[in-house]
């Protein structure tokens, strides 16, 4: 029973985890992209469309990532090159993505999709409990963990990560030191787009293998909350994503087991927890300095 619940939680958490880890990198570089939902839904539709036309899940995933990258490039061009307001541009990106995905997807409504196969890791998958939970998943679930590990390592153990964080913390000094703030931020934004696209592909190729309009149903926004909940720390994103996923799944189990709690109350817990976490880290000056990208949401134009 617990194993089965955990499997459901993994599917519910994976798209949140992937989108959030991408947005975490974006925000670490000092950019706030509120268009996660729009990039994610474009990933979902392109992933489904290409997988459906070619019969290849791998090509579908690739197309979804490309779609996310293309959307984020549009965002990056506006907010980084043209110094447009980040909040407004991110919202516009979501509107565009939802419209555009619906347009592309019209031909794929009511078409059964193909589901990504499970990749069974021989030997390990036979371990009781851990086997099925951790070693019989589809490719994207494995990728999600690899992504978190890679991001955690890169951000805190490599020079690239150091520069990225420097750009997010103080773009003025980073620029003075000779780093191209715009280029580094652009890379981060593209990475975020790729992750959102991949998260979308997970929805349309693994979670519920089909295309329907608005199928992201607000998950992009939850990913934004997750980044904050994790206080911009990659490993905590896993905790957050699984917590968010678990709350929703447990909500349903609580009902099936006849427990009488208003579902809205349980659903609002993650958001309240996010605010609490935010207050706790910002009230503590040392934590704030370590974790919060100080330049988040601020535009940068190099003087010359």
């Amino acid at each position: 029973m617990f194993e089965a619940v955990l499997l459901t939680v993994i599917t519910a958490a994976t798209p949140l985890l992937i989108a959030a880890i991408g947005e975490l990198v974006v925000e670490r570089s000092g950019v706030l992209n509120l268009g996660v939902e729009g990039m994610m839904i474009m990933g979902a539709v392109m992933g489904f469309a290409v997988a459906n036309l070619t019969g290849s899940g791998a090509l579908g995933i690739f197309a979804a990532i490309l779609a996310g990258v293309a959307m984020s490039a549009l965002f990056g061009f506006l907010v980084l090159n043209l110094v447009a307001n980040q909040v407004a541009t991110g919202l516009a990106l979501t509107i565009l993505g939802i419209g555009f995905s619906g347009l592309i997807g019209e031909a794929f409504i009511g078409v059964p999709g193909l589901k990504l196969p499970q990749i069974v890791i021989p030997g390990l998958s036979d371990i009781p409990f851990f086997g099925p939970v951790f070693f019989r998943q589809d490719a994207i679930v494995y990728i999600s963990f690899a992504l978190v590990a890679a991001v955690a390592y890169t951000l805190f153990k490599t020079r690239v990560g150091l520069i990225l964080r420097a750009v997010g913390d103080n773009h003025g000094s980073a620029h003075a030191l000779g780093y191209s703030v715009i280029r580094i931020r652009f890379m981060a934004v593209l990475f975020g787009g790729a992750c959102s696209g991949l998260a979308g592909a997970y929805l349309s190729l693994a979670y519920t293998p089909q295309w329907v309009e608005n199928m992201t149903a607000g998950r992009g926004w939850i990913a934004l909350a997750l980044v904050v909940f994790s206080s911009w720390l990659p490993l905590r994103v896993i905790v957050g994503a699984y917590l968010f996923g678990a709350v929703n799944v447990l909500n349903l189990h609580a009902q099936a087991m006849e427990m009488d709690i208003p579902s809205q109350f349980l659903s609002s817990l993650p958001y309240l927890a996010t605010i609490l976490v935010l207050v706790l880290i910002s009230a503590n000056r040392r934590l704030t300095l370590v974790n919060t990208p100080a330049c988040l949401g601020k535009s940068f134009v190099p003087d010359r």
Partner: protein, 354 residues
């Protein structure tokens, strides 16, 4: 300013000439709450519209607006239709009820048809289908096929229609196996594939081996297919999504009703009525029975015939969850009791959200 107006007027004339006024005898307009691509509720209404287009050919012109939020946006959409010369307007969501009544008052010559509501006026009719008749049949199938004796029901909102559906399903099941049990999960949405899939998984994990739903996406059936349990399609035939898992589907077929009502507008004898038809009239259709042994198919078809001949699933003896009698043996609940149903029958493993 004047010249601007003139230029606009000239453009309007040009455009009007360009588009060549259509020669249709009647214009029917539809407003949908979801995207026509939901493959569920709104999709089926649009299929009904297309049936009418096919039936009437050049005599009929149609227009539709999709994903219209309930509220002021719906009111504006209805006003637009009325002004654009629609003769009959179908408003296909319960939440359009007050707006429909409001706009209908302003345009007494336009006929309005509101789906699933309970308010009528001289130019506002209501229509709905007896989906619970189909649910009785799938309940019987579930009881025949289930090994665990428990089915799972993914429900949207505790409105009478949904509650009646749950009760009809269980009454059908209990007619085959009196001890049959039903677990209900409320997802508080009509349409969220991810959440519906999670609900299906939660129910399966709690030991049900038949899933049924009163939500619109195909996701629960896909989960059933994956987990090797079975289920039923909702609103449209979803067999393509679950070749081995779908036993049948309760299909909403609005086409016959739309054709009938548009014909009445053409003939000039449209009246405001409350239509509530079911399997007998072809408004509720059972999709082909698949993945079932012959005797179960025969039973389902026999029940279908019984309903067509006028029998009603809500016929006593019916006992409420609290043990009181809802209908004595042989007594049939009247339409009002079904349309306002806010109690469970005995055997539902859930407390009705109040």
């Amino acid at each position: 300013m004047k010249s601007l107006l003139k230029a606009t007027a000239a453009a309007a004339v040009l455009v009007a000439a360009g588009s060549a006024a259509s020669a249709a005898d009647v214009k029917a307009c539809f407003i949908y709450v979801g995207p026509v691509g939901d493959f569920g509720w709104s999709y089926q209404h649009d299929q009904g519209r297309l049936d009418a287009v096919e039936h009437f050919g050049d005599k009929l012109e149609t227009a539709f607006l999709e994903s219209v939020p309930e509220g002021p946006d719906a009111e504006r959409a209805l006003e637009r239709f009325a002004r654009e010369g629609c003769n009959i307007i179908f408003t296909t969501s319960f939440g359009y009820m007050n707006q429909t009544i409001k706009v209908a008052k302003k345009f007494p010559d336009v006929k309005f048809e509101h789906a699933t509501g309970y308010k009528t006026a001289d130019n506002v009719a209501t229509y709905n289908s007896k989906f619970h008749q189909g649910r009785y049949i799938i309940g019987q199938i579930a009881a025949k096929q289930s090994k665990t004796g428990v089915a799972g029901y993914i429900a949207s909102f505790p409105i009478p229609e949904v509650v009646a559906g749950i009760n009809a399903f269980l009454l059908g099941a209990q007619s085959v196996n009196p001890d049959f049990k039903l677990k209900v999960v409320w997802v508080n949405t009509w349409f969220d594939p991810g959440k519906e899939a999670d609900a299906a998984k939660a129910l399966i994990d709690q030991g049900v081996d038949i899933i049924t739903q009163h939500t619109d996406s195909t996701a629960p059936l896909q989960v059933a297919q994956e987990r090797g349990v079975h289920g039923f399609g909702q609103a449209s035939d979803m067999i393509e999504f679950a070749k081995d898992a779908q036993y049948t589907a309760i299909v909403d077929d609005w086409g016959p009703y739309y054709i009938e009502r548009i014909q009445e507008v053409l003939d000039g004898n449209w009246k405001s009525e409350s239509t509530w038809d079911g399997i007998a009239e072809g408004h509720v259709v059972m999709a082909p029975y698949t993945n079932l042994p012959d005797d179960v198919v025969a039973m389902a078809k026999a029940t279908e015939d019984k309903i067509k001949s006028g029998w009603e699933p809500f016929t006593g003896p019916i006992t409420k969850q609290d043990g009181t009698v809802a209908a004595e043996d042989g007594v049939t609940l009247d339409d009002g009791a079904i349309l306002g149903m806010n109690w469970y029958v005995q055997g539902v493993d859930d407390k009705l959200p109040q």
